[in-house]
């Protein structure tokens, strides 16, 4: 546990990716099996410990600490595990270095009931020092937040072993924590784990943002264009296995998200690996990302959710069919095979992402601008006709060309402390525009500013508070005093949730306009007129 706590502690303060890799590799070299496999799973977010949930931890700490003081502390620290680790009453008799093994913690908890879970945690917390307590709580709640993605963890395995990361990804979904077979293979002590035992993830091909100067060198005739859908990129893999049928849905980073989308399973053709965008679709109408968002990261999907927000696959590439690897083929051949497959399946939840025909870049630019009428479209994708399907982000093949965002000058009205990296600063801002003589809130933004700007915003909030409602502070917002924020957003929607009747998509603070008075901010009528175009 001590080695794992040290690793986590170092990762949490290390901003540099290469140094993070170095720390993980060193841990993999030094830690024993099965500890290191469990640590890796924890870093990837692949561990789920049902016997411990955040609510239980809160109950545990409520037995020992004044709830008001705990609440104020949590508000300041911004992270539940860290707050509990810091506030936990020290047991001065504790040995501080209980020989607690990671594997022991996990195997004990996995076999524990929900009643036993908190008791075990309390006993361990009494025995550990602060860093140990923090690491234990991070581990059991699964919210590590030390800047390590599943991808980075696999890259650490690649560096650790000298195997290319693509090779590791091909077997990754055939192995389970604590990965002893995988580690044995990587260290040359065992056979390659058999990936055919499970459907595997293939590294997706990614696009570069297009730059203005690219249009001078690129020829329209060399490219295929399609809409850029505002959903999530997934890879759908299926296989008929005798009487059984295997289906796996992978996120862009290779995480298995199959259980979140049972309604897509029957729409998929057999023995194929399809690349496409997961979207919410009601009849043939593609919904916006905010509808899809409610379906993400759910282990249990309610019947109401399946009925109200059904998902569909907007297919745009085909990697494999009937065991044949199509990735070396040029794009038009893959698309032709995909089109045939989609037509043969003839399922309303499986759609072919349509081509956007165009003669010149100007004509395509016009279509891209018009696409603003459809909130589910972010822009266009450009793919070279001669491109094979290549893992990673190869240069010169695929480009994304997003729409330009809209801008409005708004006035800060309320602020709240953020969580995670922004914790202990006022970083969630509600802003509004003028309706007659009054400001009406039109949205909330919590990103778009630098750390330096955050300090200024935080200071503004603390020095200009006129009211407090629990954690929310109301700040001064008069015509002649207050703070003007230039908000960029990706479109507007009508909304019954906001008093203004409007909701912005992805609003963010574009600039802080200390040069303007609130009286100069935009009016609601201006935003309403954008509704039609947005």
């Amino acid at each position: 546990m001590k080695a794992f706590a040290t690793l986590l502690d170092r990762l949490s303060y290390e901003p540099r990716r290469n140094e993070k890799l170095r720390h993980i590799v060193r841990y993999l070299r030094e830690a024993p099996d099965p500890d290191r496999g469990y640590a890796l799973a924890a870093l990837c977010g692949a561990l789920d410990i049902p016997a411990v949930k955040p609510a239980m931890l809160r109950a545990l700490v409520a037995e020992r600490v004044d709830p008001v003081l705990f609440g104020l502390s949590y508000d300041f620290v911004g992270d539940l595990s860290e707050t509990i680790a810091l506030i936990w009453p020290a047991q001065f008799t504790g040995s501080n270095n209980a020989p607690l093994h990671l594997a022991e913690v996990i195997s004990t908890l996995l076999s524990a009931s929900r009643r036993e879970g908190p008791q075990l945690i309390a006993r361990w917390l009494d025995d550990l020092d602060e860093t140990g307590r923090w690491a234990l709580l991070k581990l059991v709640t699964g919210a590590l937040r030390v800047g390590v993605s599943a991808l980075l963890a696999r890259q650490a395995l690649a560096e650790f072993s000298g195997h290319p990361v693509e090779e590791i990804e091909e077997v990754w979904h055939g192995v389970e924590p604590p990965y002893t077979d995988l580690l044995a293979w990587l260290e040359g002590r065992g056979p390659r784990p058999d990936p055919s035992a499970a459907l595997t993830f293939r590294s997706p091909m990614l696009a570069h943002p297009i730059e203005d100067e690219d249009f001078e060198t690129l020829q329209p005739a060399d490219f295929h264009a399609e809409w850029k859908w505002d959903g999530i990129r997934i890879q759908a893999a299926t296989r008929r296995n005798g009487l059984a049928r295997d289906v796996r849905l992978f996120s862009r980073s290779g995480d298995d998200i199959t259980t979140s989308f049972p309604d897509l399973i029957e729409a998929l053709p057999e023995n194929a690996v399809i690349d496409g965008e997961l979207v919410v679709a009601r009849d043939a109408l593609i919904a916006t990302f905010s509808d899809l968002q409610q379906r993400l990261n759910r282990k249990v999907v309610s019947a109401a959710m399946l009925r109200d927000s059904p998902v569909a696959l907007m297919a745009y590439d085909l990697l494999q069919v009937e065991g044949e690897d199509l990735r070396p083929l040029p794009l038009p051949q893959r698309l032709a095979r995909l089109e045939a497959l989609v037509a043969a399946k003839a399922h309303p939840r499986l759609m072919l992402s349509p081509a956007v025909p165009f003669e010149s870049w100007e004509a395509l630019a016009e279509k891209r601008a018009q696409s603003a009428e459809n909130a589910a479209i972010e822009g266009v994708m450009l793919k070279r006709l001669d491109s094979p399907y290549l893992a990673g982000r190869p240069k010169g093949f695929w480009y994304k060309w997003k729409r330009d965002p809209m801008i409005a000058d708004c006035v800060m009205m309320y602020a709240q402390r953020g969580h995670g990296k922004r914790s202990s600063y006022y970083s969630d801002f509600t802003f509004g525009v003028w309706e007659g003589e009054k400001l009406v809130p039109v949205g909330k933004a919590y990103f778009g500013f630098t750390d330096e700007e955050l300090k200024g915003l935080d200071r503004f909030v603390r020095q200009n508070t006129i009211n407090r409602f629990g954690p929310v502070r109301e700040v001064v917002h008069e015509p002649q005093s207050g703070l003007v924020l230039e908000i960029a957003f990706e479109g507007l929607q009508e909304s019954t949730r906001h008093r203004s009747g409007l909701a912005m998509r992805f609003p963010r603070i574009h600039r802080i306009r200390t040069d303007k008075k609130p009286a100069e901010a935009d009016r609601i009528e201006t935003l309403r007129s954008l509704l039609r175009s947005g």
């Binding site: 949490s12 303060y13 290390e14 901003p15 600490v65 004044d66 008001v68 003081l69 705990f70 104020l72 502390s73 300041f76 620290v77 911004g78 992270d79 860290e82 707050t83 810091l86 506030i87 020290a90 995670g420 990296k421 922004r422 914790s423 202990s424 600063y425 750390d451 955050l454 200071r459 020095q463």
Partner: protein
């Protein structure tokens, strides 16, 4: 008579009407009593200033000889009368020369503690408990998550990092008055005998500490060193300098910060700190509570920091308590001094 007849907040700062003076005022006033030399407490432009000998010297160093019209040195522990109000200065243990200020009038005693800490510190006279009716306290670290560890353990982390990263210059952000000198003393106590390098902003105050007889061992200037130097050495600088281009001149700089805020990970990460050392010149949660109880005060006024939590705790102890909502304190402390 109410305690607020003797002392209450005004826009200029804490004011004593019968004595006609302010304690640590924020704006220029005719007569000011100053607890210590940090810039959120000691400001220029007052008429008469009364403070400890060290605080007066530090103010002159940092603000210029003309920082006020007349100076009066407070003799520690000696009561003097100002317009009928008895006044005395007692050590606060915060930084060199830092004092609490006690006011006595018509049988009522109020102690304004300024900033203070209870941990031993070879560079500041230890905090002295003064029995009083009303205790005015800070609450910079007034949350139960703030418990400062043994500074020797924190300095040990720095020394271990020097061993592990001999190719990197260790740039330690530490406030120029108090924290920097205390850190050097802790390094010496841990047996570190290499020269400690100083950013120019730290030189004058550090020299003054040495003049008063505080031994700091070999010190060296960082100014004028060639690019890429100080691998495996310790360089102290103001926290704000850590993010400057200046800091990139040294050998693969490793960013260290010594502050009570380093207890919270997000704070360290927000400032790009790779090695956080929890060393503070303010009382932690236990220190604040212990001090409040030891003063025997029945009423507690909380000036700046995490007032809500400390007031809540006081009320739970059956003590009358209220936040004073003084604006302007702790701004500097929040950034650097804590």
């Amino acid at each position: 008579m109410r305690p607020s007849d003797l002392l209450h907040p005004r826009p200029e700062g804490l004011y004593c009407p019968p004595g006609d003076f302010y304690v640590d005022p924020l704006r220029p006033v005719p007569r000011a009593l100053i607890t210590h030399g940090h810039s959120d407490h000691a400001r220029p432009g007052h008429g008469a200033v009364m403070a400890s000998r060290e605080t007066l010297a530090i103010m002159a160093l940092r603000l210029g000889e003309g920082f006020c019209e007349t100076r009066q040195e407070a003799i520690i522990g000696e009561w003097v009368t100002i317009n009928g109000v008895e006044v005395a200065f007692f050590p606060a243990g915060h930084v060199l020369g830092s004092c609490q200020i006690a006011l006595r009038w018509k049988g009522l005693t109020i102690v304004v503690s300024g900033d203070y800490k209870r941990e031993p510190d070879a560079t500041a006279a230890p905090f002295e408990v003064v029995t009083c009716d009303v205790f005015v306290t800070e609450a910079t670290f007034g949350l139960p998550v703030f418990r400062h560890p043994d500074p020797a353990k924190e300095v040990g982390k720095l020394l271990a990092s020097l061993q592990e990263n001999p190719h990197r210059a260790h740039l330690v952000g530490a406030y120029s008055l108090g924290k920097a000198q205390r850190l050097i003393r802790h390094l010496r106590e841990a047996g570190y005998d290499r020269p400690v390098y100083l950013h120019g902003a730290l030189e004058r105050v550090t020299a003054y500490y040495e003049e008063t007889g505080i031994a700091l061992g070999p010190l060296a200037r960082a100014a004028g060193l060639p690019r890429g130097s100080l691998a495996g050495e310790i360089l102290l600088c103001p926290p704000s300098a850590l993010a400057d281009i200046w800091s990139r001149r040294f050998a693969e700089p490793l960013t260290v910060a010594a502050s009570g805020w380093m207890r919270v990970r997000a704070r360290a990460r927000q400032r790009g700190v790779e090695l956080p050392l929890v060393i503070s010149d303010h009382a932690d949660w236990d220190g604040l509570r212990q001090t409040i109880l030891e003063t025997g005060a029945g009423e507690i006024w909380v000036t700046h920091g995490q007032e809500d939590a400390l007031v809540h705790w006081c009320l739970g102890q059956g003590l009358a308590a209220q936040p004073l909502h003084l604006v302007g304190f702790g701004e500097e402390a929040a950034e650097d001094a804590a």
